[in-house]
């Protein structure tokens, strides 16, 4: 076909020219950049409105330049040339600190304003005791049959959470005879002060996680010591907190959720096996530089930018004037909605994915389900809103706009995405591993539990977090289910009305006609929403990268 002719043309290709290829290449680059640049311009515009960096004085910039920017650049360049891995470890450590601080803000909001410490403690105990029973039973699994263990475990959970005869008795009209363990704990007349209960729940949880992590890295004994140390640090922070201007409860939460895990990771990365202490040095330079800069700015009295995103904006509720308006109830509402969505969509989605990948036979029905899940992932969110309104509010008679209805609707919305991404993760587990497990005589259940799920778990988690990132920005379904435009305090129960960050931004931009809201509160709300979204996505990306490295 492609034979050369006298005129330098190749049949079927036309004239040979480099220009066409070059033009095509640049067109492709333009196509790539168009969307990114447009979005970047928009974001810069919004961020400029919200943070107003130009309102800060030159003194403020100079101070931070010398305390933060210069040391960061110098130390960063040095560390990077010495040891690339150390540099990325340092960067990661800073990211971890920032994200975990944001996360601790969320947890703090929950324990301060949503769940009273006693209730949290009672439920933590009410879950921990039967869980311990279950663990003991599982240890003795060779002596007790599965059915007995199942019945005993369910009974332990039921007694602990509901008592006798519990909701079943309520339905049959029987009076409560034995109070549940949860009720019992809540009725104890003398209880520890709030921060101790918070320390027990949050600090205990964080200590357990740290202990498990260290036990995995070193051995069980170091794990135990690390957990105890972590718990002691959390408790100690409540005593130290008041001296640095923090109330005991927030001090415990910040320490347990942000500082303890970050320092555990820092310790491991710097002093563990093949650790890189200079990476820690880089992270310390950045954090220290920021702190020194803040202190210096305070001491010299340099005014920072008059940002609309400030502490007042994050902690106050809506107000008639844009300057005093805040996002607090919406932030809390979003957190509660996301917790509900995660609690509903994660087990359902992962369960469906495991079934479809590991158990489902390859027949017409499975393929039909397959196609429908893919289609459902593309259904517009407003349709899910209608579905939520129809099913939960009209048909099931729930009241409109509550945490439960909103969470359930958003969970339905992201369920197909969770299923698809979980299936992706499960499918990427090499079938050699499965075959090897079967070859050792493991059953299908043992293979799924011990081989497939642990291997696929980071991928599943990544997909779920990205899906939650979609849910947190959804506005249309919440409008459809009748979520209120303005609320003034956090919801305290599953059936109280809830607002969310995107909904609040929408209400400000549409219902409050004054220019003030449009130029102050709206950009500030958008920036907070994006910050939360980016934090969630960064967690997902880090998980995925780790997963790809090890797997």
């Amino acid at each position: 076909m492609a034979t050369e002719t006298e005129h330098g043309e190749i049949e079927g290709f036309g004239q040979v020219s480099r220009t066409v290829g070059t033009v095509f290449r640049y067109l492709l680059i333009a196509a790539t950049m168009f969307g990114i640049v447009t979005l970047a311009v928009l974001l810069v515009y919004v961020a400029n409105d919200a943070i107003r960096p130009l309102t800060a004085g030159p003194g403020w910039y100079l101070t931070y330049f010398f305390t933060l920017v210069v040391p960061t650049l110098l130390v960063g360049a040095y560390v990077r040339t010495r040891d690339r891995a150390a540099f990325s470890f340092g960067v990661f450590l800073i990211g971890l600190l920032v994200v975990s601080l944001m996360f601790s803000g969320g947890v703090g909001l929950l324990v301060v304003d949503v769940v009273p410490p006693l209730v949290a403690l009672s439920f933590a105990l009410g879950l921990a005791v039967p869980a311990a029973v279950a663990v003991v039973l599982t240890r003795n699994s060779h002596r007790i049959s599965f059915t007995t263990r199942l019945v005993a475990t369910s009974l332990a959970f039921y007694l602990s959470l509901f008592g006798l005869p519990g909701p079943i008795g309520d339905a049959a009209g029987l009076p409560q005879v034995v109070p549940s363990f949860v009720q019992f704990v809540q009725s104890i007349p003398v209880i520890p002060v709030d921060w101790m209960m918070v320390a027990a729940v949050v600090g205990g949880g964080s200590a357990a996680a740290v202990g498990a992590y260290v036990a995995g890295v070193r051995d069980a004994r170091s794990g135990l010591y690390a957990g105890l140390a972590a718990f002691a640090v959390s408790v100690a922070s409540a005593v130290v907190g008041p001296f640095v201007g923090l109330n005991p409860v927030p001090a415990v939460v910040v320490t347990a959720v942000a500082l303890v895990p970050t320092s555990t990771y820092a310790w491991r990365g710097a002093f563990g096996e093949d650790g890189t202490p200079i990476g820690l040095g880089f992270a310390a330079t950045v954090v220290g530089g920021a702190l020194v800069g803040a202190a210096a700015v305070e001491a010299f009295g340099f005014a920072g930018p008059q940002s609309w995103v400030d502490w007042q904006f994050l902690t106050s509720s809506h107000s008639g004037s844009a300057v005093d308006a805040g996002l607090y109830p919406a932030i809390g509402g979003s957190i509660l909605l996301m917790s509900t969505v995660a609690a509903l969509s994660f087990p359902l989605g992962v369960g469906a994915a495991v079934y479809l990948e590991e158990y489902a036979p390859d027949n017409a029905l499975t393929r039909f389900v397959d196609v429908n899940i893919s289609n459902l992932a593309g259904v517009p969110s407003v349709v899910y809103g209608l579905l939520g309104l129809g099913v939960f509010v009209t048909y099931l008679g729930q009241s409109a706009g509550t945490v439960l209805v909103g969470g359930a609707t958003l969970a339905l919305l992201i369920l197909p995405i969770v299923i698809i991404s979980s299936r992706e993760a499960i499918r990427s587990v090499p079938s050699d591993l499965r075959q090897a497990s079967y070859g050792m005589g493991a059953t299908r259940w043992q293979t799924v539990r011990n081989v497939v799920l642990p291997e696929a778990f980071p991928g599943i988690l990544t997909g779920t977090i990205l899906a939650l990132g979609r849910a947190i920005g959804e506005t249309a379904p919440l409008i459809m289910i009748g979520a209120p435009n303005v609320v003034f305090s956090l919801p305290t129960a599953l059936n109280s009305k809830v607002s969310a960050m995107p909904l609040q931004v929408y209400a400000w931009s549409s219902l409050f006609a004054s220019e003030d809201f449009y130029t102050k509160a709206v950009p500030a709300g958008v920036v907070v929403l994006l910050a939360v979204l980016l934090a969630m996505n960064s967690v997902a990306i880090v998980l995925r990268n780790k997963f790809e490295r090890t797997g």
Binding site: H318, P484, S489, T492, L511
Partner: protein, 350 residues
């Protein structure tokens, strides 16, 4: 080796004893009375009342949810009132939703979802039927007076002093539905209208319909209807030949972006919309009362009754109603009448 371990075990016992003693002492100092406040379990008699904190001494703290929906015109007023109420009663959770008067009655209030429905027109008979069908009994409370405002673009220089009711009727009527300004008055530009207004779920729409067009004439439907008053402002700002109408509060926040049209009723003068002309009664026929409708069963709950009284007690406040929101406050007499109505509603079904 053995000696070392012996010594360390002694010191460990001492350490355990000392730390245990300290711990017990510390724990004893760090306890509080369980007031059993808002646990999920049934209220457990609140421990003993001589509790140490004393947070719940004095007047009993109000707590509970209040759900408000309805008119977008009343929404800013309801928001301002709830915000103030919330400052003193932080345990009461008020949620507000702007659905339009009719939308609020039909979808939220009369189905029993909400405790209050705001309305920028009185409740209609069919809505009362729907409510009573669901055992919802509304109480009509007037909360302010509004001057419904017709707005045009700042560059509109041809309407002169203002518009007559007759002209407004021609512009907005479905029967004539003129295409261009010149269809109304041949001296005006021969350019098509761009009309913005509230949707038919809105009380503002109902009131305008009744006051300007009357029962027989229907409101034209080829305009841009919206429940977001900001959209009306933006639409009118964006086009020289646009016209729209909305509640006075939204106009008063955007006085630089659009101009309000003075309205002449019958043989009177052109009267510009303002709080003064609405209060004096000169601004006819577009000055109108604004309402909120609590339901009688909700008023039996202490926190909702307190909120209702709080609202009416502050409904005469010039600072909140006029300066912050932009409506005409109630007179003292009207306030007394409304308070009596609340009393009757609270006692009536006891």
């Amino acid at each position: 080796m053995t000696r070392q371990s012996k010594r360390s075990s002694v010191s460990r016992r001492k350490f355990l004893l000392a730390s245990g003693g300290l711990g017990v002492a510390g724990l004893a100092g760090c306890t509080q009375q369980n007031t059993g406040g808002d646990s999920t379990a049934e209220p457990t008699s609140g421990g003993d009342e001589s509790g140490s904190d004393g947070t719940d001494s004095g007047s009993q703290a109000l707590s509970g949810d209040i759900a408000i929906a309805g008119s977008s015109t009343v929404f800013p007023l309801a928001t301002a009132m709830s915000q103030r109420f919330q400052e003193t009663h932080s345990d009461v959770n008020v949620s507000l939703q702007s659905t339009g008067s009719g939308g609020g009655f039909a979808n939220y209030f009369c189905t029993g979802q909400t405790d209050f429905n705001n309305a920028s027109r009185p409740i209609q008979p069919e809505e009362e039927d729907q409510c009573s069908g669901n055992d919802v009994e509304p109480v009509e409370l007037k909360v302010a007076t509004d001057a419904l405002t017709v707005i045009v673009n700042n560059d509109n220089d041809w309407i002169g002093e203002g518009l007559t009711v007759e002209e407004l009727k021609q512009i907005w009527s479905a029967d004539s539905s003129p295409e261009t300004w010149a269809d109304i008055n041949s001296e005006w530009p021969d350019e098509p209208f761009e009309l913005y207004g509230p949707s038919d779920a809105s009380g503002t729409y109902d009131y305008f319909h009744e006051a300007i067009l009357g029962e027989e004439t229907s409101h034209r439907q080829d305009y841009s209807p919206t429940e977001q008053d900001r959209t009306i402002i933006q639409g009118v700002t964006g086009s020289k030949y646009a016209m729209g109408y909305l509640g006075f509060a939204y106009y008063s926040e955007n006085q630089d972006s659009v101009q309000a049209v003075s309205v002449k009723d019958g043989e009177g003068d052109y009267v510009e919309p303002s709080l003064e002309t609405a209060l004096s009664g000169d601004y006819t026929p577009l000055s109108r009362p604004l309402f909120t409708y609590p339901k009688v069963s909700a008023l039996q709950e202490a926190h909702i009754e307190a909120f209702t009284r709080f609202w009416i007690e502050n409904a005469t406040s010039r600072e909140i109603v006029a300066e912050e929101v932009g409506y005409v406050p109630l007179s003292e007499d009207e306030q007394q009448a409304m308070l009596t109505r609340i009393d009757d509603a609270v006692d009536g079904s006891n």
